[in-house]
């Protein structure tokens, strides 16, 4: 594996390998006083965030540090990006400085892919930590890790992805990965928040679209809620926050419709009272803090797979 740009690039074997390594890393570090492995000593990891982030950035940084890599954070403000340096020049500079891996979050879809193209002839690998409305593969992987932990194998499990599918890179990455892992996915969203050009996806047997959350809940093994991305909405996608919440928010009453074993996920940051009720977010059915915890091990696994053994040829 040279880069991790899209969940669609992962076949079942490599996805499972990443998830298994993450499980082992979690077990290895569990209950340890010193959570530090020497695995990536002398490797340099740069996080390059052009968009705000708490958990993705923090967990990539912790993941790198727990494996003894040197982690440097570059943000758009406070770097030469503020002086007008292009993405390409910034990337080439970071590679020249000695970055073995660049982790990028960018508001434009496709930014990670462009970056990987520019860095093709260098030793630097690229991880997509969210590009616009396109993909966020490590989020999908950590969601899958959390679901595997709670449900076991994901083959033929039924998973609902609910909310702002149109603007969600999390939804796209999850859709690809869950399909690869054999799950059945139903996208539940208001008609205005379903992306156009869905036909290619819907041709797949295991993917459906629904606009009625109450009808879908009783048959699901997990519900993945998406944040309503106000920052990407220019125009009226739904009449009011309250109306959205009434139709698509996971309230306490809706939680009762889910089967006993079903899990509630949210990639964060949550808008409590909007897409998820506070009681639901804090209930034992919700795996939201587990997602964050698993995120660290999953990102360690990604860094390990990208940075260890790469000089084999």
């Amino acid at each position: 594996m040279r880069n991790l740009l899209s969940a669609a690039d992962l076949d079942a074997e490599s996805a499972v390998a990443l998830l298994d390594t993450a499980d082992q890393l979690k077990a290895t570090l569990l209950g340890r006083e010193v959570r530090k492995l020497p695995t990536l000593r002398g490797r340099t990891v740069v996080t390059m965030f052009y968009e705000n982030s708490t958990r993705t950035r923090a967990s990539f940084e912790v993941a790198g540090k727990w494996m003894s890599a040197d982690v440097i954070n570059v943000s758009a403000s406070g770097s030469s990006v503020g002086k007008g340096e292009s993405l390409r020049d910034t990337a080439l500079t970071l590679s020249a400085v000695g970055a073995d891996c660049v982790i990028i979050r960018h508001p434009s879809s496709g930014a990670a892919d462009r970056l990987a193209g520019w860095l093709k002839d260098t030793h630097t690998c690229v991880v997509n930590a969210g590009d616009g409305m396109h993909e966020h593969p490590t989020q999908a992987l950590l969601d899958a890790a959390t679901l595997r932990e709670r449900l076991g194998s994901l083959t033929d499990r039924r998973i609902a992805i609910v909310g702002d599918v149109l603007h969600s890179r999390v939804a796209r990455s999850n859709l690809h990965l869950l399909r690869t892992l054999g799950a059945e996915v139903v996208l539940v969203a208001p008609p205005t928040l379903v992306p156009s050009g869905m036909q290619r996806w819907l041709a797949e047997e295991k993917i459906r679209i629904s606009h009625d959350l109450d009808a879908e809940l009783p048959s699901q093994d997990a519900v993945l809620l998406l944040r309503v991305q106000a920052e990407r909405m220019h125009g009226g996608f739904f009449p009011s926050a309250r109306e959205y919440s009434i139709s698509y928010g996971l309230s306490e009453a809706r939680l009762a419709l889910l089967p006993e074993h079903a899990v509630v996920l949210h990639p964060g940051p949550m808008l409590r009272g909007m897409e998820i009720a506070s009681v639901v977010a804090d209930s034992p059915r919700s795996a939201i803090t587990e997602q964050v915890r698993n995120g660290v091990h999953l990102r360690m696994s990604v860094l390990y797979h990208l940075l260890a053994g790469e000089e084999e040829a």
Partner: protein, 193 residues
């Protein structure tokens, strides 16, 4: 001869170093030596823990633990110590899947840890194992048991218990097979094809 499973077959140029009977006798002798050297059946000594290094150190550790129990009546736990994340050649090798490290519930602090591996060669695996151990706790002492010592050490490391010393050429390959993983007990020496 009926075809056997891959890995157990003898290809041209391979020589059998130990037969199934030899393997059993050798492991039994090693178990006696561990009992004698650690005095584990005497009162007041540090409890012994066997930690097998994957892949074939694991079944070897389990067998040693079973025999030690049979010969001395003392129950010695056998665990697993995965050293992949501590290797010094991670940059150059394709990585292998990680194996779960399993140590006794109460840890390894103040225990006598016996590292168990099938073949002792450069000593780099053992070095990695010592680093991995340091992150798990502080044993009273660490010893090393190997079925085959084939020489060519690259580090100042020596085994406390050796099943068989085998002079080899660097290019040769020593292949240990165990029933648990390969369906047969034997040790083969051959050139790398």
């Amino acid at each position: 001869m009926a075809p056997r499973q891959r890995g157990a077959t003898e290809s041209a140029g391979q020589r059998e170093l130990l037969t199934a009977g030899d393997v059993a006798r050798t492991i039994a002798r090693m178990a006696h030596q561990v009992i004698e050297k650690t005095a584990l059946d005497a009162p007041g000594v540090a409890p012994v823990v066997l930690l097998g290094i994957p892949s074939r150190g694991v079944p070897l550790a389990r067998r040693l633990a079973g025999l030690i129990n049979e010969f001395s009546g003392v129950d010695v736990p056998a665990g697993t110590l995965d050293i992949t994340l501590y290797r010094d050649d991670l940059r150059h090798r394709p990585h292998r899947p990680l194996v779960r490290t399993e140590v006794p519930e109460d840890g390894i602090d103040d225990k006598l840890v016996v590292l168990v591996d099938d073949v002792l060669f450069s000593g780099r695996t053992v070095r990695a194992a010592l680093d991995a151990l340091r992150d798990l706790g502080r044993p009273r002492a660490v010893q090393l048991a190997v079925l085959i010592d084939r020489g060519h050490r690259e580090l100042p490391i020596r085994a406390d218990y050796v099943g068989k010393n085998v002079p080899t050429a660097r290019t040769e390959d020593v292949a240990v097979r165990f029933t648990e993983s390969d369906g047969v007990d034997r040790v083969l020496l051959g050139g790398i094809n």
